[in-house]
């Protein structure tokens, strides 16, 4: 027997990278977030071997949920194969032994940056959205302590005013992605920089959505079957992106969220942003989608425009 033989093996890294203390803290905070839909829960936010701002908030949530039997889908801008999505998927599966898929309906956990899949998610699935800035009022109040007081007072006057000013100046609301929403009639929330096309998908959804900002150290949730409404004026309804007439060059599909790809002659080609859905359309039978082929949202009357 030598000293080297006697020494215990030092394997260095925990299951799913984070140590148990970190996971327990995240889990405690996730439960509070679910109990307070749309409310930003502060959390410690561990450093991961991925740069801050590259999805470390979402990644921490995923790592606190994931187990070896999970099937994980990771997307960035709707694509499974974009470099950041590929890298995060490689990391998650490497540290957890979970399987991965590009099929939104087969995944148990979907981590996403900037998109919600076109196919309707179902009960039991968890959508983890990466959040660069959790504060919907950042543009009108940069002091986060003051913004927190405004949330406490449900004082969203400045935000309404900002939307109103856009109307006066441009005759329409010019907010693009990250369209602010009211959750369970209490908290205004940033849905993360998803396009307005995806915003309605959070309303009365069957799945659980967890949103996390690693750098800003806040996480929040939209439980299943919860009211989520975009801020809109009675006479100026909320509008999704107008992509009518755009046809996906790969599938011929219409009325799904498209990427616009510039051509050299100044025109544009269009392609669906959700690559998992493209794959399914080409090779299999896709499930129900949030918007039908005519662009109607599945909950009738929710989008008024």
């Amino acid at each position: 027997m030598t000293l080297e033989q006697l020494a215990l093996e030092n394997h260095g890294y925990s299951y799913a990278f984070l140590d148990e203390f970190a996971k327990r803290e995240l889990r405690r905070r996730i439960l509070k977030a679910i109990a307070l839909p749309g409310y930003q829960v502060p959390y410690a936010s561990r450093e991961l071997p991925i740069a801050r701002g590259w999805g470390t908030g979402g990644l921490q949530v995923t790592l606190s949920l994931v187990g070896p039997e999970d099937v994980v889908k990771v997307i960035d801008q709707g694509a499974d194969d974009s470099v950041n999505a590929a890298n995060l998927r490689r990391f998650i599966t490497r540290v957890s032994d979970a399987a991965s898929t590009t099929d939104a309906t087969q995944a148990t956990i979907i981590q996403s940056r900037h998109r919600i899949p076109e196919e309707r998610l179902h009960e039991g699935q968890v959508l983890v959205l990466q959040v660069p800035d959790p504060e919907p009022m950042r543009s009108v109040e940069h002091d986060i302590s003051r913004a927190r007081e405004m949330h406490a007072d449900a004082d969203y006057g400045l935000l309404w005013l900002a939307l109103y000013e856009q109307l006066v100046r441009y005759r329409r609301v010019t907010q693009g992605a990250s369209y602010p929403v009211m959750v369970h009639k209490r908290y205004v929330m940033s849905p993360s920089p998803i396009p307005r096309w995806d915003t309605p998908k959070l309303h009365q959804a069957a799945h659980l959505t967890l949103l996390a900002a690693g750098r800003e150290k806040r996480l929040y949730a939209v439980p299943p079957y919860t009211d989520v409404y975009p801020l809109e004026f009675t006479d100026v309804p909320f509008k999704v992106e107008d992509q009518r007439g755009w046809v996906c060059i790969r599938t011929g599909a219409q009325n799904k969220f498209m990427n616009e790809i510039p051509n050299e002659d100044g025109t544009s080609t269009h392609e669906m942003s959700d690559t998992g859905y493209i794959e399914k359309l080409l090779n299999a039978q896709p499930g129900d989608t949030y918007y039908d082929n005519n662009g109607n949202f599945y909950i009738r009357g929710y989008i008024r425009s």
């Binding site: 027997m1 000293l3 080297e4 006697l6 020494a7 215990l8």
Partner: protein, 149 residues
């Protein structure tokens, strides 16, 4: 190690401190030479981890966390010697060095080859003190003569 002996007695803790700061190579060799006399060894813990280093603000006197220090640590039990336990830790990530320290600690507590360990530790203590003295001698040469500052 800068603590001088009290009344000529050096405690186990003081010797352990010296051992923790001795070269990994030497401590491992020492522990290796003890193995045959220690009987069955149960390694309870042997890992790397962090020690938070608190610091005291000299202005308001409050304590804050300066940062963490990487250490390796080990706990062992000597099954053939009434289950005497030993603990060792050192700066850095060498968990075998920590195990060697824990074995030295257990041996000292069980009174096994205590003379060997003590002699080793006392020799290292003198080396550490000498190194400190040399550094302080060098530092003294940088003292500013106030008339020329």
């Amino acid at each position: 190690m800068n603590k001088e002996t009290h009344n000529g007695h050096t405690s186990i803790a003081e010797r352990l401190s010296v051992l923790s700061q001795s070269s990994a190579h030497q401590v491992k060799a020492l522990a290796e030479s003890l193995l045959d006399d220690l009987g069955v060894i149960e390694v309870l813990e042997n890992r790397t981890g962090l020690v938070m280093l608190p610091y005291t603000d000299s202005v308001q006197g409050i304590t804050f966390n300066l940062g963490e220090v990487l250490i390796a640590e080990a706990s062992v039990r000597l099954k053939d010697h009434d289950g005497v336990e030993g603990y060792g830790s050192c700066l850095g990530r060498d968990h075998v060095q920590a195990l060697a320290l824990a074995l030295c600690d257990a041996a000292l507590r069980a009174g096994i080859r205590a003379d060997t360990i003590t002699a080793f530790a006392d020799a290292r203590a003198l080396e550490l003190i000498a190194a400190d003295q040399e550094l302080l001698r060098q530092v003294e040469t940088t003292r500013v003569n106030m008339e020329t500052f």
